[in-house]
């Protein structure tokens, strides 16, 4: 084999000269350095806020990640260019006849390519380093520069250079090689993502690589294995090239060792790839085995832990724990099942006074007693265990796909996911890690029993490694030399956490509550910035706390609140049975180190940003530094009062807005960690009571509905009408809708009671009832019993119908009537609204009479909303009396298929009458149903599939057909969103309360065009005669931005636009109205159209079908095809 390093270096030296002299490389190198400088200038040298974690250790990641993508592409070109040159030019042959070996020549060439890119990477990293040094001084994580170079740049380059030369040698065609490789890179960047656990991500573009300042990389060994896979494959391919190279070897057998070496490296790379997938598969299998075991034991030996004293001793990486517990069986039992992290080895389990055997099966501990333990009988247990916690037990209920999903922070950085940490320097064990024994199983997909949690009286004693501080819930006392600590919560808690690290506390006591911020490490004191407003901080905290308590309508229940920093990789998941995320624990919030991805906790940056902004706007804004700091503190506390953020995503060209929960939303601190309603049969019991008694997040706003096409509630209803409730609750695809489904279901569950006693009254009483028992376990059965005694209504039927497909009702809503009756004392306004349930299912409607000024309602105590039950094919009228006309009536149709599901009936559209007598207030059964049509009137709506038709879409290409088909398949919800700026190339179905419809108020939209697209209403006439033809317009919905123009238009009657062809087009809708083969052209100026029916003209028709056709030739932004009405004129 005899590899001559000298020859390799010679080849590399001269080939490098060639590379750097090529314009392609010059341009790329210039761009790379230029981009690095610009990036550096933006991220580091300007006021652009940047998390401290990034400044310390992640800057090289950002820089090298961007660089890596660029060089992956460029190196493909350069590597293949090399061989192309070799093939065509005779000058290469004079080198081939030299005595160097093929390996020396090829490796020299490859090394030249790698070398220039490595130097470029080094230059980019140096730019980042120098700029970081200028900005932040020497407190940087220098090793991270080396780590990211080794993990990102080296394997990527070696692999892509090896692959491109191999392909080039095999295909012998540079163009094909380039196309294949660029496609491969494109697929890697834009499609592959986490496929096969990121196996194919050779660039490391999606691979989670973010480095915590505290705990470093997450899963470093897996990361190294993944990168080794590509490094070895790359080397293997380069060695393969030695054999493929088109030059006779120096001797007949000289290639054999290279072939063997190539095979070894390729096999090594493949093995690393296999190992990568295998490690995940083993984990998945392990998790599946745990679930299987859980399923087996889910029904056996349930118990409640009354008290639990945990004595923890940290020794190096390992923990040893003694748990002194008092548990009570939930029913007579001879076996009890506990869950403990499977990484912990049990040393002993004893139960004084009881003869007992135990078995450890993965994460389960099965205690078997000789005698049956009676229900609720206290049992003392002492468990001693220790070792290293295993992360695989966390989130057994979350799918493997979800677990592997990437977390992207700061728009591109890929953060690994960690659920627990345990090493010598840092330990974080939240309840999800099962770091202490808990009765019951961890998860079961066959019974919801495992979801139950109960309040326990905890005590935690900790002896940490020297120099480290422990954090847990409760009052902390330390021994004299601060080597061991004890935590005693004042009340029972649903769970307890333990964090041990180099924590640096800052505390303040306000109104006898201790507020502590625990910063990890001593590298950057964020809270130092507030030193100058130290005197003001208590006032701000007091004020914000009052605000929060007012909003929650509850007092903060704990004696302390701690913000505890945790490594950036800490992640949690939404659970349907609780609104609490793992980030919030009783008394504490776990926040990423230095507020990594949360601006609200990056105090130093926020100050920099605000000060910069202040300086920028100095003329208008003269905030002092103290005012800025006060604002920053208020902002960060207010962050906990936001239930979530809007997040937009695009799928199949359809833009969807969703509300992403804020895991730090304060409610669990006030509610979930204080109240617990449990039920073995009803895992959702606690969540149901919570959704009834705690204030609801405003999930359904109209703007979101417009954007998404349907509100979250409506989407949930569509799913509830199709699928079993359990499935909706458990399918990760619909997790965003689970809350809505649960709230809708809960309201429907309690609806009979709401009808009887009033919704508000029920909520108030239920809240009061729940709050009687803080920090205690309350059974759901007792709540149901109370409901029955309180309202006289049994909810047994509802319980039986809980799971299964929802039986959706369907309502026609009558036009509200207002009758003014003048009495001796005042004018009374009698408001009436009628509902007809046209379905076979019973349902409820919630009706709210809204007054813009609340005092207008008259009687303060009179409820303005009421819930009404409407049976199948039943029509009910609500009659109410008011001192003023309600501004509008908000109708929520609960479990129904009405779209929109909630509508506002504005008083401008109501029928008004003068009357002399009042009908008594109440709900009346009415005969004959709701009929909003007048005599002699015929209406055809777009929902009438027999009488309404649309032109075919213009696009006929196979690809677009395929995309359309895929889109259709994926869209569970049929209706699309509407936005002013979107182009609708084909007729698109939308719903809105301003549109016309019996129970689905929908219409089709299309962007204007050449008139080739049309919508047609075919109206069968039985009687010949003269008819007025009306068109239903809803300018309020789609002409928001044209309101001002409409106003202008009134002053300037000749408002025209030019269309794309330069032809003058008007803002008219263009109709053809006629019978048989003749028609008349009618246009309607939409900027002058009124809401509702607009007269198109009067025509004489025979007793045959009338065709009204609307085409898409117009200058207006959007064309809406909704409903047409014909009204016969009396002679």
């Amino acid at each position: 084999m005899g590899l001559g390093i000298t020859n390799i270096l010679i080849v590399s030296k001269y080939e490098t000269k060639l590379l750097v002299r090529g314009w392609f490389f010059k341009v790329f190198a210039f761009l790379a350095v230029f981009t690095a400088i610009i990036l550096g200038a933006i991220y580091i040298l300007t006021q652009f806020p940047q998390p401290e974690v990034v400044n310390r250790s992640v800057i090289p990641y950002m820089f090298l990640l961007i660089m890596n993508v660029g060089q992956a592409v460029v190196s493909v070109f350069l590597a293949s260019e090399y061989l192309k040159r070799d093939k065509q030019l005779d000058t290469s042959e004079v080198f081939y006849t030299r005595p160097l070996s093929n390996a020396e020549y090829l490796i020299g060439k490859m090394w030249a390519t790698l070398k220039v890119f490595f130097i470029l990477d080094f230059a980019v990293a140096m730019i980042a380093l120098i700029m970081s040094l200028i900005k932040f001084g020497f407190a940087l994580d220098y090793l991270s520069y080396l780590w990211y170079f080794l993990l990102l740049s080296v394997p990527t380059l070696v692999f892509i250079v090896g692959l491109s030369t191999t392909l080039m040698l095999i295909l012998n065609n540079q163009a094909i090689t380039m196309v294949i490789l660029l496609a491969y890179i494109g697929v890697t960047l834009f499609y592959i993502d986490n496929l096969y656990y990121y196996l194919f991500d050779y660039i490391g573009f999606n691979l989670p690589m973010l480095k915590s300042v505290v705990t470093g990389f997450s899963g470093l060994s897996r990361l190294i294995n993944h990168r080794m896979c590509y490094l070895l494959l790359g080397i293997g391919l380069i060695l393969t090239d030695v054999s493929l190279f088109h030059r006779l070897a120096n001797s007949r057998y000289s290639l054999l060792p290279w072939r063997i070496a190539a095979a070894v490296f390729l096999a090594g790379g493949l093995y690393a790839g296999y190992r990568h997938v295998h490690m995940y598969k083993v984990d998945e299998k392990y998790r599946a085995d745990m679930v299987e075991l859980d399923n087996k034991y889910v029904h056996i030996g349930g118990a409640v832990a009354r008290s639990c004293e945990l004595t923890v001793t940290q020794s190096g990486d390992s923990l040893s724990v003694r748990a002194d517990m008092t548990v009570s069986p939930k029913e007579d039992a001879s076996q009890l099942v506990f869950t403990l992290n499977p990484g912990f080895r049990i040393n002993s389990i004893t139960a004084p006074g009881h003869s007992m055997k135990y078995e450890r099966l993965m994460h389960l501990i099965i205690l078997t007693f000789d005698a049956t333990l009676p229900e609720d009988e206290p049992l003392n247990l002492i468990m001693e265990y220790g070792g290293m916690a295993d992360e695989r037990i966390c989130y057994l209920d979350i799918s493997a796909e979800k677990l592997i999903e990437n977390v992207k922070a700061l728009s591109r950085l890929n953060v690994g996911k960690r659920y627990l940490f345990q090493d010598r320097e840092y330990t974080m064990l939240t309840p999800e890690s099962y770091w202490y024994p808990r009765p019951g199983v961890a998860y079961s997909d066959q019974s919801p029993e495992w979801q139950m949690s109960y309040f326990t009286d905890f005590t935690v004693n900790v002896t940490p490694n020297p120099g480290l501080k422990p954090i847990s819930q409760g009052l902390c006392t330390a021994n004299e030399d601060s080597t061991s600590y004890s935590f005693k919560p004042e009340s029972s808690l649903p769970s307890i956490s333990l964090l041990i690290g180099d924590y640096n506390p800052k505390s303040i006591t306000v109104d006898s509550t201790l507020y502590t911020v625990w910063e990890l490490g001593h590298w950057d004191d964020q809270f130092e910035v507030f030193d100058s407003i130290r005197d003001t901080v208590p006032y701000i905290i007091r004020d914000r706390r009052r605000n929060m308590e007012y909003q929650a309508d509850m007092a903060y229940p704990f004696k302390r609140f701690q913000i505890v920093e945790v490594p950036v990789q800490f992640t949690s998941y939404k659970r349907v049975w609780t609104s609490a995320y793992e980030q919030l624990q009783p008394e504490m919030a776990l926040v990423h180190e230095r507020g990594f991805d949360m601006r609200e906790f990056q105090f130093r940056n926020m100050k920099r940003s605000w000060t910069g902004r202040n300086n920028w706007n100095r003329r208008n804004n003269n905030m002092s530094e103290k005012e800025i700091l006060v604002n920053i503190l208020i902002n960060s506390i207010n962050f906990m009062m936001q239930s979530g953020n809007m997040s937009g995503s695009s799928r199949n060209g359809q833009w969807t807005m969703t509300q992403v929960d804020n895991p730090y939303f304060y409610r669990p601190l006030f509610y979930n960690f204080r109240y617990n309603v449990y039920s073995s049969d009803w895992p959702m019991a606690n969540r149901m009571v919570e959704s009834m008694t705690a204030e609801n997040n405003a999930r359904n706003n109209n703007w979101m509905r417009r954007m998404n096409g349907l509100s979250e509630d409506e989407k949930a209803l569509i799913l509830m009408g199709k699928y079993d409730f359990d499935r909706i609750m458990s399918d990760p695809e619909w997790e965003d809708l689970a809350d809505n489904a649960l709230e809708l279901k809960t309201k429907d569950f309690f609806a009979p009671v709401s009808v009887a006693v009033g919704y508000e009254s029920l909520v108030d009483s239920l809240s009061a009832k729940t709050r009687e028992r803080a920090f205690a376990n309350v059974s759901f059965d007792s709540i149901l019993d109370w409901v029955q005694s309180y309202s006289g209504i049994s909810l047994e039927d509802k319980i039986e119908a809980w799971n299964g497909t929802a039986q959706l009702a369907c309502y026609k809503i009558g036009t509200p009537q207002i009758t003014t009756v003048t009495t001796d004392t005042a004018d009374i306004y009698q408001a009436e609204v009628t509902f007809e349930n046209i379905s076979d299912n019973p349902g409820f409607v919630n009706v709210e009479f809204v007054f813009y000024e609340t005092e207008n309602a008259g009687d303060e105590d009179k409820p303005t909303s009421m819930m009404v039950s409407v049976g199948p094919h039943e029509t009910r009228r609500i009659v109410t009396h008011w001192f003023n006309i309600p501004s509008y009536i908000r109708v929520n149709t609960m479990l129904s298929s009405n779209l929109p599901h909630e509508i506002n009936l504005n008083n401008t559209d109501w029928s008004t009458f003068e009357g002399t007598e009042l009908t008594a207030e109440g709900v009346y059964n009415v005969r004959g149903g709701v009929d909003n049509t007048l005599p002699g009137e015929i209406i055809v709506d777009n929902e009438d599939s027999n009488l309404f038709s649309l032109s075919r879409p213009l696009r006929t290409g196979y690809l677009s057909k395929w995309i359309d088909k895929a889109k259709e398949k994926k869209n569970e919800f049929m209706y699309e969103g509407f936005s002013d700026w979107r182009t609708y190339s084909q007729w698109t179905l939308v719903t809105d309360q301003n549109l016309y419809g019996d129970y689905i108020r929908s219409a089709y939209l299309i962007s204007p065009g050449d008139g080739g697209q049309y919508a047609r209403w075919s109206i069968p006439l039985e009687v010949a005669g003269v008819y007025d033809v009306y068109y239903y317009a809803a300018p309020n919905m789609y002409e928001n931005n044209n309101r001002n123009r409409r106003w202008n238009n009134n002053n300037n009657n000749n408002w025209n636009n030019n269309n794309n062809n330069g032809r003058r087009v008007t803002n008219d809708y263009n109709f053809e109205i006629g019978q048989f083969n003749t028609s008349d052209h009618v246009s309607m100026n939409m900027w002058r159209a009124e809401e509702g029916w607009n007269l198109l003209g009067t025509f004489r028709f025979e007793a045959d079908t009338v065709r009204v056709t609307l085409n898409n030739r117009s200058g207006i932004r959007i064309i809406v095809a909704d409903a047409v009405r014909l009204v016969k004129r009396e002679r």
Partner: protein
């Protein structure tokens, strides 16, 4: 013998036969390999310089087996390919240094000295910092011979070196080769230009359609051609007839007819007179007449 070729045959993957049973002994000095385009010269050259593996046969270069001892062969070999024009972006000196380094001249100061001497020798010293691709055709060819000679090879293989050069450059180039051959180097000069052989080679072989038609000295080749060259004067009609039957190698207008030189084993008639042959006549005799017998 410097180079010994025995039973050499070569077939291309498409089955086309490039060389058939070549047997040659090539001594030190300048050896000419003459033959028309497509005769197999370049294939033979490429096999000799280890760029191709022959299908059959045995070749020893200075005692090294070309199949099993390629590295040794390459160490003593210099090669100037046929179309030596396209350079990568190297300066003249860099290119030569690279070639020298790859030939085993690892000591950089010695290498630098050798490179400068060689540049002086081929008259490119003044152009040493110019990019090679910017040199004239003749200069490029000189750079080519410089890279082939830089490591003082025992065997120098030069393929069609003078094609496309102007007469002055051609003479200069031949002199360079002659100078090299005087240093106990075996030089194989492959060419289809007869003048290259006649002016510099003492030994030669003639190749056509992959076979050796002649092996000997240029004088020997002339001798074999004696009595086969004829001169005659003919009319237009007679010229057409002669041209169809014989290999006409010279036609000069003469009054109303033509003064012709014809290569033929026997007299073509028309009062043809025998004419003393030169190498060009010999070349035509061997390729057009003997080879077709």
């Amino acid at each position: 013998m410097s180079i010994s070729i025995k039973g050499l045959s070569h077939y291309y993957p498409n089955g086309k036969r490039a060389l058939t049973d070549i047997n040659l002994e090539i001594p030190s000095g300048m050896f000419g390999l003459l033959g028309p385009n497509g005769a197999g010269k370049s294939t033979l050259m490429r096999i000799l310089v280890t760029l191709m593996e022959p299908t059959e046969g045995q070749i020893d270069v200075c005692g090294y087996d070309i199949r099993t001892q390629r590295k040794e062969v390459r160490r003593i070999l210099g090669y100037l390919p046929q179309d030596f024009r396209f350079f990568a972006k190297y300066k003249v000196r860099e290119f030569l240094e690279y070639a020298a380094a790859l030939s085993g001249m690892t000591n950089s100061s010695q290498r630098g000295k050798a490179v400068d001497e060689m540049l002086e020798q081929v008259g490119l010293y003044e152009a040493r910092d110019r990019y090679a691709q910017n040199l004239s055709g003749g200069m490029k060819r000189r750079l080519g011979i410089a890279q082939a000679l830089i490591h003082k090879p025992q065997v120098l293989v030069v393929d069609e070196p003078t094609t496309g050069l102007d007469p002055e450059e051609r003479i200069r180039f031949r002199n360079l080769l002659s100078e090299a051959s005087s240093k106990d180097t075996t030089i194989i000069l492959s060419t289809h230009i007869v003048g290259d052989i006649s002016s510099s080679c003492t030994e030669m072989a003639m190749l056509n359609q992959g076979q050796v038609l002649f092996r000997g000295s240029p004088a020997g080749m002339l001798k074999e051609t004696e009595g086969k060259v004829w001169r005659l004067k003919v009319t237009n009609e007679q010229y057409a007839e002669i041209n169809q039957k014989y290999a006409v190698i010279s036609t000069i207008p003469h009054g109303l007819g033509w003064d012709l030189q014809v290569v033929s084993k026997e007299s073509p008639g028309y009062d043809a007179v025998s004419y003393p042959p030169n190498l060009e006549h010999a070349y035509v005799y061997f390729t057009e007449i003997r080879d077709k017998e």
